[in-house]
């Protein structure tokens, strides 16, 4: 051990939470998990070699998508397992401490706010809702609402023209239809987010995912996270289903349950 190893943190729980499910399981790089307790709080951790997880090595490895994917899944798997035993505060990926003593002093130094966060997260679960624009629907709606609606409207929603005839005015129509469709999409995404936020204890909007990264052609209009009381999950899921309406022009996807990644911050350390 010692200077060639660091302490990777996965999550913080109450020390009174059970340990049965994760005892003996492994974390990133197949390292065995351990509990570091201090004053009634527990950090779930594992000892990692600095050759792979030290600052310089991490900076390099985080740019390797395969390494990042494997590490993120291992980190998440531990947090999910620990979360089955009680309320959990997930740590940001790649939080590495020098040794156990520093982890203990962090736990005691931040005792008050960590307990406050644990109370806030208790009995609640994070759910993700993504909204994708349904191709064609909003474009058609925007065009038919405009005064220029006519034979051209069909061509706009049908995509590129075959190149014959009046390309220039049609192109302008397309651009303006595109612009109003973008505005409608943004407005409806905000409406969906507001409607779901009312049903949630807290909510966050992540930046929309880049189609280049997801490989999906559809434009993402909403990438939301919602902290939902477990007792209100049915109500929340029904609302998502109701909002996933063709006439609305957005296709909704519900993901989860997630550990409360998006709601673990204390406001002081997160934007």
């Amino acid at each position: 051990m010692g200077e060639d190893h660091g302490v990777w943190l996965y999550a913080i729980t109450r020390a009174s939470a059970g340990q049965g499910e994760w005892n003996g399981s492994r974390g990133v790089a197949e390292t065995p998990l351990e509990a570091i307790d201090e004053g009634g709080l527990r950090a779930v951790a594992s000892r990692v070699p600095l050759a792979e997880f030290g600052a310089d090595a991490l900076r390099r490895n985080l740019e390797d998508l395969d390494w990042l994917a494997t590490t993120a899944r291992a980190h998440d798997a531990v947090i999910s397992t620990v979360g089955h035993m009680g309320t959990v505060i997930p740590m940001r990926l790649a939080t590495v401490y020098l040794d156990d003593d520093r982890v203990r002093s962090m736990l005691s130094q931040h005792d008050h706010e960590l307990r406050f966060t644990l109370d806030r997260l208790a009995g609640r679960t994070e759910w993700g809702v993504k909204a994708y624009r349904r191709p064609g629907v909003l474009v058609g709606a925007a065009t038919s609402g405009a005064t220029t609606a006519g034979p051209g409207a069909g061509a706009v929603s049908a995509g590129p023209t075959d190149g014959s005839g009046t390309a220039r005015p049609r192109r302008r129509d397309q651009l303006s239809a595109q612009r109003s469709a973008d505005e409608i999409t943004a407005r409806r995404a905000q409406e969906v987010h507001s409607a779901l936020t009312i049903l949630a204890a807290d909510s966050r909007r992540h930046p929309p995912q880049d189609p280049k990264l997801t490989g999906r052609r559809e434009q993402m209009a909403l990438n939301g996270s919602y902290l939902v009381d477990d007792s209100r999950l049915d109500e929340f899921a029904s609302a998502v289903a109701a909002l996933d309406d063709e006439r609305c022009g957005l296709r909704l996807e519900l993901t989860g349950p997630w550990p409360p990644y998006s709601f673990a911050g204390n406001g002081e350390t997160q934007r």
């Binding site: 030290g54 390797d64 966060t117 993700g128 997801t214 052609r217 350390t269 997160q270």
Partner: protein, 78 residues
Amino acid sequence: MTSPDVRIPAAGGQPSRADQRVALMDLLDRVLSGGVVISGEVTLTIADVDMVHVSLRACDASVDALQPGAVGGGTVGR
């Protein structure tokens, strides 16, 4: 099972490779920009690393290497 790969859309079906890729992005959205950050002299890493920026560079490099011209081409395979 707690693997992110089972977090397929509520609409269901077998997760395709594209769905797995999306599930990974959903996970990265959260583990790289969420989770509690307790910075200070006690941490060896993280505080000075722009995680989101790093991840996007990793993803960009991977996309460029694996899927030339795939954007806009429909189904993405690996």
